[in-house]
Point group: C2
Chain length 244, copies 2
DNA sequence: TAAATACAAGTTGTATACATTTTACAAGCC
DNA sequence: GGCTTGTAAAATGTATACAACTTGTATTTA
């Protein structure tokens, strides 16, 4: 990609490959991961594969079996809700500390510009809106926003967000028509504006509360989907690991 | 130990060995970790060593160098404070969710019994008190307390706590005489009681606030030590990685 | 003299061979 | 008939050999 050398190319391939196999549902939750089978399937050797499995274990997508090896982790409803709450708390902390310590005007301007771009992408009819551009800009905005925090906190946010269902964008799919995403999107935009404003005014406590509320909305959406019948749930690949 | 088989013995040895070398200060912050040197020093092969380095990278104790390999991470004052704050919000979340969902009386009783044991260990004169027993019971209490949360949250708490300076116990050393630990210990005990009480009464918000305050105390202690001259700082091995 | 380049040594990433453990299956025993 | 035990196969953990890249140094050239 950017500055990343092609040094650890195989490890990256292994990581993405296994993650895709799990999220897409090709390997079911709870089933054991055979190293030899994965090696054959991904066309790499065992060493980088094992590195990838170890990292996925740290991320929480797979779990180590006491007797050896790994299995795809399955998530209960409680696990899923906790991951969302976790994200809210972490993002809240990131914003509170950023607000307390202050943020350079240049970075604030960057955030506002991104929000303007998102508004622009959302403009127009539902059918005509630039959905892909929205998703892209939204992701960039979040990166920059949590990027205001220190490395220590950013790392945790990224880790939690790597769980497939922890990110709200996992439920935004125009084609699949999952959720009434229009209202959800506008609501999220309003919250984004409020968060940036709170940081600019250096109101740390308010910024933190807003971030939590932001996650709360995501939690409600998630619980709504989980309460539906399986046909709706199946439209969200991120939920293939959730049992019950 | 308990049910853990000796299957991954070398990996465990590598993990503990490297961690000790870093925390003890034998390998300085910022310096590069040579795999061959570590292999020779620890008497293992490169494969389990690399697994250990990867995990330490996830924990945040070492960081990957873009051109390859790892270096011991150095922590700024901000990093250290953020880790404490992080611990506070994570533990707060754990307690809030536990209080909201309720905890079985048996587990609550277990916690109270541990607190009684800690009180007993603290009884008597400063010189006579059973310091080791206090440290042991205190660790068990914290394990049980955060154990009330789901696996997802517990994992994060354990990860953050693994940073050498993130745990308050890193600053409790009777021999070294770091901090006026007596007052600190009694204060922590009072907070522990209040947290357990809040959970029992199912007051989630209060439990969360108490956990945060608990971490706040740790942050104050930490900042106090950091503001002292190097001679005091050197008495706390956990701070060998902190620059400035 | 300073900069650039080529070369060499050292280091990491990858692949694979080996050893130990787990596990499944079948035969034997109570 | 059910349980235990022994053996074989399979899978994981470990060690090491190999290859590619990085980096420091020395030599050459402008």
């Amino acid at each position: 990609m950017s500055g990343k050398s092609a040094r650890a190319a195989q490890s990256q391939r292994a990581l993405m490959g296994v993650r895709d196999l799990i999220i897409s549902g090709e390997i079911r939750a709870g089933s054991r991961l055979s190293e030899l089978a994965l090696v054959e399937r991904l066309g790499i050797s065992r060493t980088p594969l094992r590195a990838a499995l170890a990292q996925l274990g740290q991320e929480g997508l797979v779990e180590a079996i006491p007797s050896g090896g790994y299995a795809v982790r399955s998530f209960s409803r409680e696990d899923v809700i906790d991951a969302i709450e976790l994200r809210g708390v972490l993002e809240g902390l990131a914003l509170r500390l950023a607000a307390e310590r202050g943020v350079a005007p240049a970075r604030m301007g960057e955030l506002v510009r991104l929000l303007d771009g998102i508004d622009e992408a959302l403009r127009g009819d539902v059918e005509d809106m630039d959905f892909d551009r929205y998703v892209d800009l939204n992701a960039t905005f979040h990166e920059k926003l949590w990027g205001l925090a220190s490395q220590t906190i950013r790392r945790e946010i990224e880790r939690v967000t790597s769980l497939p269902f922890a990110s709200p964008s996992a439920f935004l799919d125009k084609q699949a028509g999952v959720l009434e995403f229009r209202r959800s999107l506008y609501g999220a935009q309003a919250q984004h504006r409020a968060m940036v404003s709170a940081i600019a005014l250096r109101e740390g406590t308010r910024a933190e509360a807003l971030a939590r509320e932001h996650a709360r909305l995501a939690r409600q959406n998630l619980e709504f989907v989980l309460d539906q019948d399986r046909s709706l749930i199946r439209r969200v690949p991120a939920l293939s690991l959730v049992v019950g």
